[in-house]
Assembly symmetry: C2
Homo-oligomer: 190 residues x 2
Amino acid sequence: MARAGLTTERVTLAGAELADEVGFEQVTVSALARRFDVKVASLYSHVKGSHDLKTRIALLALAELADRASDSVAGRAGKDALTALANTYRDYAREHPGRYAATRLRLDPETAAASAGGKHSQLTRAILRGYDLPEPDRTHAVRLLGSVFHGFASLDAAGSFDHSAPDAAQSWPRILDALDALLRNWPPAE
Amino acid sequence: MARAGLTTERVTLAGAELADEVGFEQVTVSALARRFDVKVASLYSHVKGSHDLKTRIALLALAELADRASDSVAGRAGKDALTALANTYRDYAREHPGRYAATRLRLDPETAAASAGGKHSQLTRAILRGYDLPEPDRTHAVRLLGSVFHGFASLDAAGSFDHSAPDAAQSWPRILDALDALLRNWPPAE
DNA sequence: ATGATTTGCCTAAACCTTATAGGCAACTTA
DNA sequence: TAAGTTGCCTATAAGGTTTAGGCAAATCAT
């Protein structure tokens, strides 16, 4: 009766890998048990259940993405920083579709508060230092950028851009050009 | 043995209502059977199964949303049209969260082609008539607007804006101001 | 080292959802 | 009102979730 060496971390990581392979919605405690070649009930010592597992994958992905985002904007400013951050999100969504989908899981307030979620808005706020926006427009701009990054990755992943020309990849740099131009010429409140 | 009067349309509509109440992911053939006070197997005469049901709900929502969007931009131009379209998406996402989530279901290519999906990009393209954008920038702008509408609704629904001030409702008009300004001053390709 | 304790994975079982097959009753139509 | 169609049924099987309780392996104390 050899032990498989399960821990909560290892189970969560395997769940994230499974999500990238088969989709976040398809992640199940049973599938994970098969992957470890272990009986289903064994996993219940490490995660509380299906929802707990998915929440842990979401937290893992949020933290991992925040780390990458943080690295990407370090030492950059202005449009350079904007592009780096935006590309980090787009690349992560493409490389890790399951993990990326996990970041959109609705977390209960206290879990969300303890997550890396706040770090993401902090990072977006940081790249706005290179532009000259007074509050509260800075907050509005953070939300606009978040919407674009998330919305584009989401529609791209859903294949929404697949049936029109040109390639989504062609639109991306022009969208970043446009956002940069917008941030440099942000309209004043009337 | 009274008949419940099930039809594919009625089952789909009830599925959409259920989605708005408990969330799109929670829509199940079983739950729907309970709602009709009918045995599960009975529903299988009307929908092929769980995936078919969800697909039908998605198509219903896409069509319904396209109708509303179409109504909202009729007779408007420029920023007025932009605001009307944007608000239609935001309002629909708030009023019908389950249906809105359904619109993000990944459809297989031929189903997607037969859906109202294309109408949405047509409508967005239409409001750009009020601005002066050459191709291919018009397409890039359509994608940007789609990303913002979808991304904002999505983040708003996920509660991502809940833990920072001010209210998301305050950001929305300013984001539309910003998009209008951007479309009027779209940066030229270098 | 060896007994005690903790930890890890197990069997067993109950419940829910999906899905299919086949049957009888209730509507429809002629 | 008989024939045909449709609508909902029972029965059944397979797979996922979750809990309870048990034995063995690893770890710790003496």
